[in-house]
């Protein structure tokens, strides 16, 4: 890991402790949600940044995880701890299925297919009243059992739960991407898929693996979101989610994993902070960030200061 990555992680670690040391409900809320977004951003980076399969549909996997968790707890009385796995599992399964057609598509066609998939998921969520509660969503399902009951303490405990799960997940993804041959395969596929094949890399297997891992962790983020916010509506599968995720990764730096995490934390902080200025302006900033960074700062924060 480069020195700057270590530095960034240290800073993030310190920031992570802050909500525990200075428990203010608002700070806890932002920090918890930022952590969930960080997980989602990292999962997107695994697929799109590392493996080069640009997905415009991660909002769909996120939604699958959120709905999977909420529905299983509400309708089948599954414990939320298991519900997380259900959500992640559903998302991963759909992700794997998406991977097959994706094998044959490149570039913007792949992006469009994933976008179409997310829209289908959103439509289903909006219209399948019995299962998903339609446009109003699902809201009466319980959250993690066994957490302390006091208002503030409960939030702190939630925060800790979320952060721990996120950190472990990102660590797993980092390990896979940077320390295993799978990660090398991902990068080879991104750089030059034909070359990777001639070198004997089973691109099919690794692409499917990337899709499954990425969608599974996105679904896990969705599950965490469901149990934290305790309301899942079709909006989560919408364009704002996709824009935010892509904005966070572009801001933080594609293909580094820690860059998107940092980007998510910062951008979400800015996004929520701007809410104070006026709800309406925060997405404007996100749009600007995406455009400016794609053109001028392609490697995001992770690449600042580095020559080319």
């Amino acid at each position: 890991m480069t020195a700057r990555a270590r530095l960034a992680l240290a800073a993030v670690g310190v920031a992570a402790l802050l909500p525990v040391l200075l428990p203010h409900p608002f700070v806890l809320t932002i920090a918890t949600q930022a952590a969930i977004w960080a997980l989602l951003a990292a999962s997107w980076d695994l697929l799109s940044g590392y493996t080069g399969q640009i997905s415009f549909g991660h909002a769909g996997f996120f939604a699958l995880g959120a709905y999977g968790a909420a529905v299983s707890t509400k309708h089948a009385d599954v414990s939320p701890w298991l519900g997380l796995l259900v959500g992640a599992g559903v998302a991963a399964a759909i992700g794997l299925l998406t991977g097959f057609p994706a094998l044959r598509l490149r570039g913007h066609y792949l992006a469009l297919v994933t976008l179409g998939l997310a829209e289908i998921i959103r439509l289903v969520a909006q219209n399948w009243l019995d299962l998903t509660g339609g446009p109003f969503g699902i809201h009466d399902f319980r959250s993690f059992p066994g957490l302390p009951a006091g208002a503030l303490v409960h939030r702190q405990a939630m925060y800790v739960v979320v952060v721990v799960i996120v950190v472990v997940s990102v660590a797993i993804m980092y390990h896979v991407c940077e320390r295993t041959s799978a990660g090398q395969a991902f990068r080879a596929i991104r750089e030059d898929e034909v070359l990777a094949q001639t070198l004997g890399i089973d691109t099919t297997r690794y692409k499917l693996l990337a899709f499954t891992l990425s969608s599974g962790f996105a679904g896990l983020a969705g599950g965490l979101y469901a149990y934290y916010v305790q309301l899942v509506s079709p909006v989560v599968a919408g364009a704002a989610t996709t824009s935010l995720v892509i904005g966070m990764v572009v801001f933080g730096g594609l293909g580094t994993l820690w860059g998107p995490v940092l980007g998510a934390l910062l951008l979400y902080g800015v996004y929520e902070g701007l809410r104070f200025v006026g709800v309406v302006y925060n997405l404007v900033a996100v749009g600007l960030v995406i455009m400016v960074f794609v053109i001028f700062v392609p490697r995001g924060l992770a690449g600042l200061g580095r020559s080319a």
Binding site: G107, L112, G116, E119, Y281, V286, G287, V294
Partner: protein
Amino acid sequence: MLESLLEFLIQGVVLGGLYALFAVGLSLIFGVLDVINVAHGEFFAVGGYLAFTAVVLLHLPGAAGVLGAAVGTFLLGLCVYPLLIAPLKRRLGGRPQGPLYLVLTLGLSTFLQSSLLAIAGGDYLRVPPQVSGILDLGVTAVSHQRLLVLGVAAGMLTALFAFLRFHPVGLAVRAVALNPDAAQAMGINLPRIFSLTLALGVALAGVGGALMAPLFNVYPAVGFPLTIKAFAITILGGMGNPVGALVASFLVSIAESLSVMVIPSQWQSLIAFAVMIVMLLVRPRGLLGRAVSR
């Protein structure tokens, strides 16, 4: 039964005009610039807002609203290439990186939509119809407003195709779509053609927005569902082929309309996406499109 069929067929044709205005512009932009404009729907919304401004705020006649929408979105569209796409192109140095342009236009879409929200608020704004009244066709009734949409769409698209076919600059646009390097060697100014094409494409959407404002109401996100559907339509017709987009628009709109007979109406949109996914898997170049390799 036959009456229902006819009714839905007619409704489908009328809807097709709107889809065509949208999808043809999108396809043209892709064909010439090789960029998928995720922000296309936002120009539709801007058109609606311009019509609202002209008619409700400035008390101008309905036609002025449509004209204002056309001109306004055209001018806005002229800014997109030099400010956004050209700088990215310069940085990429000619290497094709489709998804990055998608991300760029996604950023533009987010920026425009939320800017509209910031400037105008999120309320659904009402715009009076440019024409009122209903045409009674026996099997079904179609509002004059919807017929106006179809009529204007037909007129504008005819003008566009005539321009592309007969006008020297239209020939240049086609040349750039086929072979940009050779087009340059003919003395064609690429940045100018790119800007013009983009502006024309989004202006079509803007006009659509002004005409549909009385029917959809005007709000920042009004265009986005259409954008995604337009992706599906252009892929069906062949990305980069405006004629394909035209044909596909009506195929999709009629299919959607007829489908109401067998599936609940809220699932209508699924058809477009299902078709898109199937096309991408089976025949990515669409019904009439050129090969995907470019």
